[in-house]
Amino acid sequence: MDRKCKRSLPIFRCMIRGLLLAGVIASVWPAKGDAAPVYAGWFRHSEHITGAWTFTEVGADPQQVMIKSTVTGEGKPKRILVLYPKRSSAYDIAMSKILDVFASKNMPIEFQVINFNNDDGLGAEVLDLAEEDRFDLIFSMGSESTAWLYQYYRNGDTPVVTVCSKDPVALGHVADYENGSGTNFAFTSLNMPTEVQVAYLMDFMPGLKNLGILVARNNISAVRTQAKPMQEAVEAKGINAVYLAVQDPANAKEELPGLIESALVEMRKTDPSLDHSMFWITGATSVFREIETINQYAGPVPVLSAVPEVVQAGDKSAVMSIGISFESNGYLAAVYGYDVLMGKTKAGDLKVGIVSPPDIAINFRRARAIGVEVPFSFFESANYVYDYEGNAVRLRGRDLTRNAGS
């Protein structure tokens, strides 16, 4: 740990302890009625898991949430700490899946989810707490949490499983995909191999000439593991890579129109009709959450994404996405976590968890709107399909129209 972090640790340790105490008190305090919980600003979950879990505020701290399984059993429940770096819908999806998986294990368990807001001091307090209170496992949510924990808690006592994090090999956290980290870390990856991604993009649009790569400049993981490798890969194939980096994530909505318009100008140089050009959104949350703006300015150029969740119902959607969904990654992380928790394996022995195959999601409403064709092989392979009305007709591979009929 660096010096700054060490200085701030005692203060935050006291704060955290106080917060935890407050949390315990709050948990036995009478309910306040239907008012939104204090953590609602950064933490949400799927509705379907509420039966298996109870969600409680931790005192008045809006950055914490306590989640307990409704299963009662003998012995002390397993305690898991989940470290969020910020608010993200991606994390909510992954966390919901983790809870879903652990619910199926039918064991008493407690999750304490803390948003440390990318604050090193608060993060350090959380680490202290984790060790003192003997958490059995830490889920590191998002690439930022992973990077921070890897920096400050590598070889710590409590095992760490990463969730919604970019490729640890590309980020230099682990040497290769075939071996474990040898530390207290078990890595999972949100990335799919770049060459596979390129192959799918070229299948979707044979004769691709321009690829606009959308990323946030300060999202190091997205830049290093997605945008740059993609740029290199397509350029190697003679495709013009147009690099569009949002400078300020908070100001993405304002920056994107200008970036896209200038990109279209460049694309028209080699593809005047824009029939052989596309935009590709990386896993930068600040960018993909502005899909509406991107669609608006991209015009007839199809917008694809590396994040399946960017394809969704209605018009606020990419045409198609090919990548690892947060849900799939959450599932894999939960399996890793469970194995570590039950002592089946050590975190450091687990090789990088890569979900395969990736998911494909298609929004035919968007495809028709911009007049793009979707090859039958993509339609067949897609796990998520939205029809011309923008409604989901296939989810997780299931035909919803048939189920509705039956």
Binding site: P357, D359, I360, E373, V374, F376, S377, S381, V385, D387
Partner: protein, 1018 residues
């Protein structure tokens, strides 16, 4: 008491026959069931393979870009759709190159199944393999990128789903078979008295009829199953295509916005060429079609195709959307026929077995079948029983020996290759069998003569069983050589043992029947063995067949040990030493090879024919056909076709040669046809034809025509060449029997040399069918050389030049005698003195008879006289004075010729003066009966003289002097008879007055005890 015995006898008859019929019928049903199971499974394998191919095609399009298998997105959705469309599939999985699961849809517990089906992969796709365990059947197709196999796709289904459908069809046949067998037993038991009086073998006819009924039921079920089976794949593909299109339609997507739909249809057609067309039809109009010109046209039913429509209309929609797939009916018929063909081969085998069972039952029952006529002589009855007891031994051993012939060559070649040894060793291993066989014949013959045939048989069977055991464990070259050599030695010992046994036990009138055991055993065993073996190998693999062979021969050995009686000595009156035999054989061989005529026929016709049999038919042909991708069952059936053609040609040509005597022409024709057959196979069938349009069909046609031609050609050679050799002048020096034995010995050079020569040719030009074509040309050239350097036969009948010093046949029985004012005929049963007897014992006896009369008639002169007499008889054939009498005479001859007591040859002595055309026709028919002869006398007086002579011979054997009285006595009796109105006269008196008394004199000829005489009315 007698009544009780009779009832007991009837009950035993009924039970025995019911048991035999039950076993035979159930066996037939079981064979049908097994065959249906196997073929029906193949239909499912074909279906699973087709379904897997679609998946493989999709995955490999991804892998061929060097992308990692686990990143392929579309597997799960596609697999899920396939599972939804086909409920028989329980699991679809992708495995990596170490057989670890990568993707699994369906039952995840079904991994890579442990056992590999040996020879059951569909012929059209050598990449696929079929695996199984106790519960599941799994088709596995490899997944390849541009360089290597990196995994596999496996589709699994439960065995039970297949067997259940087959069982539903076949289980009901078992009670039917049992009911028929019980009915048959009751019929035999209750009607034994009536059956005993019948001239026709009613029991056998009824048995055969019921057997055919069961066979018809089995075939009916097979056709129904196979017709359904051939459509399984197409229906499944239609369902799968429908499932893939359902969501496109169900989501109301615009087809125009989804490029590649038409490619999906074309892909189905490409991967499954049997499909005539696949289309997406919306409200009767074609939207997508494998033939782009059909798009926009209305969908119409086409004749001659099966049409499969899968309704994929969205719920609640008024649009009617269908997936239509068509399959030509011709494909269904062809595949059904192909599958039924396999059963036909097995049917032949089971018919042989059923026939064997029936005969065995008769012998175990210690009496003739109830339909047989009673034979008073107990010894003859015993002899016949012994013959029937030994019959299964030879048949079963021959059958087992041929079990492996369809695949032995490729199996041995595979082992030789896997051991890294030179390929020419394959032919050496083959040769070891024939060498072992040839070298064992003489010592075995000596042993049989000196001791007893039974131990020889037992030891031969033991060696045969051991040889199969060695093959089971055969993983070294010496083991294989020893195995085949042991098989050759064992088979030779068994052959000699059985032959000696027959000679020992068979009564003179049963000798021919005994000889038939050899013929039946060899031909029937070969046909059955090839049929069964080539199908069995698909179930249990080559080593399984060897193991079964070993077990069956061991059981046969046990049977032989307990059931076959020990005979004291094969030939106690001729205890020649082994060295003497060898010396005689050596002398004869020297004489033979110094004789240009004999040398020519051996070197140019006999040896090449045998070399083709062992070197090409048994060795090279199965090897080349396996390389060309023929199924083992097809190879077996094609070889079976060869064997059947040999039998057919043998049957036909023997009569023709006997009639015309032109064996030289037949041999040359055989050689030329043999060459033509080989050329057809080598150049056409297995040559380069498959590279041209319709090449495959042409290829098969050429192979079939070629193999039948070759079989017929060998049929033309096999039997006539013995007669031809026997008729050569050299026979007068060393005797007919010795000559034929010498020839048999020398022709084994061909047996031994065949695989060696072909093996060497393979080394020189490679394992190419062109070797067969060149061999064919050489064989034909040999035939033509023989044509140039041999002299035509000088007389119309073959055996003209036999020495008359020692007759090789004897008169045995009077079958019939007809005397009236216009017709005079005497029918005698004759017998050859040994199993290798002359083709024409009748003439032999006749010549000998004349010789005893002091009339030194040359055989050719005599034959010429006989022929003149025959011609004169034909010339007067229009002198039919009395049609009523002519008809009666015809009836008499018909009854005489139809003597079914045995297959013994007949001698018909007729007077030509008043024979009508129908009589000649019958006489000609009789002439075709193996070894039979018609002697036509020009005058009544001469006929009477002959008749007296024959009857005297019958009574007194050949001890009578040159005179046996005048014909006056008989003439006076004849006149008296004619005065009474003519008709049948049975004359018994004269010979008995003049003959010397003998202790073993035969009973006087009595019309009441002669079925023929009794049957012929006035």
């Amino acid at each position: 008491m007698a009544e009780f015995v009779s009832v007991r006898r009837r009950v035993i008859d009924a039970l025995t026959m019911a048991l035999v019929a039950g076993i035979s019928f159930v066996l037939l049903v079981y064979i049908g069931f097994g065959e249906a199971n196997r073929n029906y499974e193949q239909f499912y394998v074909g279906k699973l393979t087709a379904q897997a191919k679609v998946l493989v095609n999709a995955v490999e399009s991804f892998l061929k870009r060097d992308l990692p298998l686990d990143q392929y997105v579309g597997f799960r959705p596609r697999a899920e759709r396939l599972l939804n469309s086909d409920k028989t599939i329980v699991s679809i999985a992708v495995f990596d190159d170490r057989n670890r699961p990568v993707f699994v849809s369906g039952d995840a517990d079904i991994g890579f199944l442990p056992h590999l089906r040996s020879v059951s992969e569909p012929a059209d796709d050598h990449r696929s393999s079929v695996r199984h365990d106790d519960t599941y059947l799994q088709v596995v197709l490899p997944l390849e990128n541009n360089r290597e196999t990196i995994g596999s796709i496996a589709i699994s289904m439960p065995h039970l789903l297949i067997s259940k459908q087959v069982e539903e069809r076949f289980l009901p046949l078992i009670p039917v078979g049992l009911a028929l067998s019980i009915g048959f037993g009751l019929f035999v038991g209750s009607a034994s008295g009536w059956l005993a009086r019948q001239r026709w073998p009613v029991v056998q006819m009824v048995y055969a009829g019921l057997f055919l009924v069961i066979a018809a039921l089995v075939v009916g079920n097979l056709v129904t199953l196979y017709t359904k089976g051939t459509q399984i794949k197409t229906k499944a593909l239609a369902d799968s295509l429908g499932q893939r299109m359902t969501e496109v339609v169900g989501f109301n997507l615009d087809i125009a916005q989804i490029p590649g739909l038409d490619r999906a249809f074309s892909e189905y057609r490409r991967l499954n060429p049997d499909i005539a067309a696949a289309a997406l039809v919306v409200d009767g109009t074609i939207l997508i079609h494998t033939d782009p010109f059909m798009v926009g046209q209305p969908w119409e039913n086409t004749r001659d195709v099966y049409e499969y429509l899968v309704d994929i209309s969205p719920r609640g929609s008024e649009r009617r959307v269908h997936i239509a797939v068509t399959l030509p009916q011709e494909i269904v018929y062809r595949q059904t026929l192909r599958s039924v063909k396999n059963f036909a081969a097995l049917f032949v085998a089971s018919a042989f077995l059923a026939s064997l069972f029936l005969q065995l039952a008769g012998s175990v029952n210690q009496r003739d079948g109830p339909g047989h006529r009673r034979v008073s002589d107990q010894r003859i009855k015993d002899d016949e029983r012994y013959l029937k007891l030994v019959k299964p031994v030879f048949y079963v051993t021959m059958c087992v020996e041929h079990l492996s012939y369809a695949f032995l060559a490729s199996y041995i070649a595979g082992i030789v290759e896997s051991l890294g040894l030179p390929p020419e060793l394959t032919s050496t291993i083959f040769t070891s069998y024939y060498l072992g066989f040839a070298l064992t014949l003489i010592p075995a013959g000596h042993l049989a003569q000196r001791f007893s045939p039974k131990p020889l048989m037992i030891f031969g069977l033991f060696l045969s069983a051991m040889s199969f055991l060695l093959l089971v464990e055969g993983n070294s070259i010496w083991q294989l050589i020893m195995a085949r050599a042991a098989a050759g030695v064992g088979q030779a010992m068994l052959f000699i043992g059985v032959q000696s046994f027959i000679l020992c036990v068979a009564a003179p009138e049963r000798k021919t029947q005994g000889a038939a055991i050899i013929v039946y055993g060899f031909q029937g065993g070969m046909i059955s063995g090839m049929a069964i073996g080539s199908l069995l190998v698909g179930y249990i693999g080559p080593t399984g067949v060897f193991a079964v062979g070993s077990i069956v021969i061991t059981l046969t050995m046990i049977y032989a040990f307990f059931a076959v009686p020990a005979i004291a000595n094969a030939a106690p009156t001729n205890p020649q030493g082994f060295s003497t035999n060898i010396r005689i054989l050596g002398r004869n061989v020297l004489l033979a090879i110094r004789n240009p005529q004999l040398l020519r026929v051996i070197a140019l016709i006999g040896i090449p024919a045998k070399a083709v049999l062992t070197g090409i038919v048994v060795f090279a042909l199965p090897l080349l056909m396996t390389q060309r991708g023929y199924r083992q069952e097809d190879i077996g059936q094609i070889l079976m076709l060869y064997a059947a053609s040999v039998v057919l040609a043998n049957e036909l040509i023997s009569r023709w040669v006997d009639r015309t005597g032109d064996s030289r022409f037949v041999l040359i024709l055989g050689a030329v046809l043999s060459g033509a057959g080989l050329w057809l196979i080598g150049w056409g069938g297995l040559g380069r034809l498959h590279e041209i349009a319709f090449g495959t069909a042409l290829e098969v046609t050429f192979v079939l025509i070629g193999i039948v031609t070759l079989g017929l050609a060998h049929g033309l050679i096999n039997a006539p060449i013995v007669g031809h050799v026997a008729a050569l002048p050299i026979s007068e020096h060393i005797g007919v029997s010795a000559l034929t034995a010498t020839y048999r010995f020398l022709e084994r050079i061909g047996h031994v040399a065949g695989p060696l020569v072909i093996g060497q040719m393979f080394i020189l030009v490679g394992e190419d069918a062109i070797v067969l074509a060149w061999s064919g040309l050489a064989i034909a050239a040999f035939g033509l050389i023989y044509l140039l350097f041999s002299r035509p036969s000088t007389s119309p009948a073959i055996p003209r030049r036999r020495s008359i010093e020692a007759p090789v046949g004897a008169i045995e029985d009077v079958i019939g005698l007809q005397l009236d004012s216009q017709h005079q005929a005497l029918v005698l049963a004759i017998r050859p003195s040994n199993l290798d007897g002359p083709p024409d014992p009748a003439q032999d006896i006749l010549l000998h008879h004349l010789h005893q009369h002091g009339r030194k008639v040359d055989a050719d002169q005599f034959a010429a006289r006989m022929d003149e007499a025959g011609k004169s008889a034909k010339d007067v054939s229009d002198l039919i004075a009395d049609r009523r009498r002519a008809l009666r005479f015809k009836h008499f001859l018909a009854a005489a010729c139809a003597d079914t007591t045995s297959d013994r040859p007949l001698l018909l002595v007729v007077c030509s003066a008043h024979i009508d055309a129908s009589g000649i026709e019958l006489a000609t028919w009789l002439d075709r009966r193996s070894g039979s002869r018609v002697v036509v006398m020009p005058h009544v007086q001469a006929w009477l003289d002959q008749m007296r002579g024959w009857l005297a011979l019958l009574s007194l054997d050949s001890s009578l002097g040159t005179e046996h009285g005048s014909a006056e006595e008989l003439m006076s009796e004849l006149k008296a008879h004619l005065n009474r109105g003519g008709g049948q006269l049975v004359w018994t008196g004269t010979a008995s007055l003049r003959r010397p008394k003998r202790r073993d004199e035969p009973p006087p000829i009595d019309a009441e005890h002669s079925p023929i005489l009794r049957a012929v009315g006035d």
